[in-house]
Each structure stands twice: as C-alpha cells, then as structure tokens.
C-alpha cells in the first residue's frame, strides 16, 4: 500500500510506493508481461491467446483502493510498434477506451483526478517496450491540473480556449490542424518539442466529445507521433498526458473547469541530446529552454508532413 505524505515546503503530496522497486524491468522479448499468453508460452498479464485492447490493474500500483487506482492499458497484442503504428481503427478504439476509463474511474469516490498517460522510451524511464499506456486515479487533485484551473481563473474563462485562439491567430507554432482540433508547440513551451493537441470546441472531458472528435483526436495523435519519429529519424521518446476536468463532487459543473487536451513532453532538445532538469528547473522551478518554440514548430511541422 502506498503512503501519502504532504510536503509542506512545496505544498504538494508525495507518493511513497516502495513496492514499485520490484516491478518488472526491461524483460527479454520472450518474457514480456504485456504479450498475450500463447499456448505453451509463459503466462503473462493477459491470459488469452489474442486480444485487441486490454486494461488491468497494475501489479505494482502507485495508487490502489480505497485511495485511488493505477491501471495499465495495452494497445495491442503485438509486442512491436507504437501508438503511431496502430491501425486507424485501433487508435480510434483506444480513444473510446480512454473515455470509458475516465467515466468509470472518475465515478469512484476515492478518485479526484483521472490521468491517462504514456511514457515512451528508456529516456523517460520506460520499463516495458510493448505499446501501452497507463491510468492513474489520484485520490487528490495533483498540482498541474490545479495550475490549469488557476489559469482559468487568471484569464477569466477557459485558459485552453484562450490559448488555442491565440495560437490559431498567430499561426507560427501550429503543427497540425483538422476541423475538430489543432496541435501546436505552445508559446511558452518548457520542452523543445513540447506539443499540445487541443479540441476546438470546449469539451471538459472525453465524455463530451462526439465520435468525430474522438476519431480526429486519434488521427492527430498518430500524425504527431509519426512526425516525432521522422524528426530525427528514430523513435522519439516522450511523456504524453491527457488532461481533463477533475472528477468528484463538482464533476460536470461549469466550475469544475477543464478542457480536454493532450500534452507531449519529449525530453530531446536535439538529436541524441537530452534536456535534463537541473539546477534552475529543480532548484527554482524555472525552465531554461535551448530552443525557441517557433523554430521547433517549423521543424516538427515539416516532419509531420514528411511522415504523412
């Protein structure tokens, strides 16, 4: 069982999940726990010979009932590939799975915030290469979603709507557009190739998106990841997170805030060069960037077009 401790100096919760030290770490191809269980083969987390998308409770959870939940979402029974290489139909189905997990976990009394995310690449600490993501149901509102709610207050309305309008008007940092959404490197991106994928319509969560928006979101995420991979000619590491409205007592109310969007935080600042969180970032909380978003966006836009 994890333990929460409130860090008074930072004003935030810290989660101690010491059992995670024992989690499976970069197993051999033959012993991937996210593969299907094939006849005569080793038993895996999914005791079926084939599946489309699987979700299960994490064996090494950061959160567990009655104080939250941690799940694994396996995108495919194929060990190889990535979000970018899924069929369009599978990627679209994944959006519905995300929506379902948000609805189901968000309805729990012990979950205050549902975070769907994917870590890709050893550069961001991936321990299993099989295409998969995760869901954490936090028993509290974490700092970043809380920051976004404060941005709503500061800007006197939905911050994402205002930022999207600004990016669309400027245009220099846009990297992808469809009728339903736009993707851009934010004006004040922290990471060199950070990108945000934002629905044009104000949708608090995936539950408010229609089928066309979900299909468009899947297409945008795949286009973006393909573009990332084309950027330096190799699989691009990233952290991808889905930000939605907090859940709990105020869920569904306008004051609950939230505008569903997906954020990518790639750690590379150039081919083969990682951006480290060092003195200023850790000691002062201020990012020092080595690139300007307009130039990164131009390169990423070109890579997405190249990969299309």
């Amino acid at each position: 069982m994890s333990e929460l401790r409130f860090n008074e100096l930072r004003g935030e919760e810290v989660v101690y999940a010491i059992h995670r030290q024992e989690r499976t770490f970069l197993p051999s191809r033959e012993h991937c726990p996210l593969d299907p269980t094939r006849p005569g083969g080793p038993k895996t987390e999914i005791p079926f010979p084939a599946f489309e998308i699987a979700v299960f409770e994490n064996r090494f959870p950061a959160f567990e009932a009655p104080r939250g939940v941690a799940e694994v979402i396996v995108y495919t029974d194929s060990h190889e590939g990535s979000l970018a290489t899924l069929s369009a139909q599978r990627a679209e189905a994944l959006m519905w799975v995300w929506r379902h997990r948000y609805a189901e976990l968000g309805a729990r009394e012990d979950v205050r915030y549902v975070l769907i995310f994917e870590n890709r690449g050893v550069e961001v600490g991936v321990t299993l290469h099989h295409p998969h993501g995760q869901v954490y149901g936090y028993p509290f509102l974490p700092p970043l979603p809380a920051h976004e709610l404060r941005a709503d207050e500061r800007l006197g309305g939905c911050a994402l709507c205002a930022l999207l309008a600004s990016e669309l008007q400027d245009g220099r940092r846009l990297v992808y557009e469809s009728e339903e959404l736009a993707a851009y490197v934010p004006y004040a991106a922290r990471w060199a190739y950070e990108a945000h994928v934002v629905l044009r319509g104000h949708r608090a969560s995936l539950l408010e998106c229609d089928a066309r928006e979900l299909r468009s979101l899947a297409a945008a995420l795949q286009a973006l990841v393909r573009g990332y991979d084309a950027l330096f000619g190799s699989p691009f590491p990233y952290v991808m997170v889905v930000h939605q409205a907090p859940t709990g007592p105020a869920a569904g109310e306008p004051e609950a805030g939230g505008h569903v969007h997906v954020e990518f935080y790639p750690p590379l600042r150039a081919a083969g060069k990682l951006k480290y969180l060092a003195g200023s970032e850790q000691g002062a909380g201020t990012f020092i960037a080595d690139t300007v978003p307009e130039e990164s966006a131009a390169a990423l836009r070109e890579a997405i077009a190249l990969a299309a």
Binding site: R38, T76, R90, H100
Partner: protein, 61 residues
C-alpha cells in the same frame, strides 16, 4: 531503442487458428457495449481486474 516495426496483432492475423484470433470472455464474463466498443470483464488469478475491449461492427471469429 530500435526502430519499432509493427507486425499485425494476433487478433488481426489470419494465419492463427480461428479460436486464437480473438479473446473469449471467461466463464461468467458478459460483454457490455460502450459506444462502438464492447468490453468483457474478467478477474485475474490474484484478484486484479482485467478488461478486454474490442471494436464492434466487425465479424467475430
């Protein structure tokens, strides 16, 4: 990290025996519909929940 070359997932491969191409809900598992997907709930040996999702509208093996 090496280039990741996608191979068709087992659930979409035609070279597997028909019974291996899609999950079958375990005994007692019933499918629920959620939009264009269906889900079947299972309980793993150690008590953890497992949900298998599949797209609707496609012929099941």
């Amino acid at each position: 990290m090496a280039w990741e070359t996608a191979e068709p997932p087992a659930s979409e491969r035609s070279d597997l025996p028909t019974s291996d191409r899609s999950e079958r809900p375990s005994e007692g598992a019933t499918e629920e519909q959620f939009g264009p997907i269906a889900l079947a709930r299972h309980v793993k040996d150690d008590g953890r929940a497992l949900i298998l999702y599949r797209r609707l509208g496609e012929e099941r093996p």
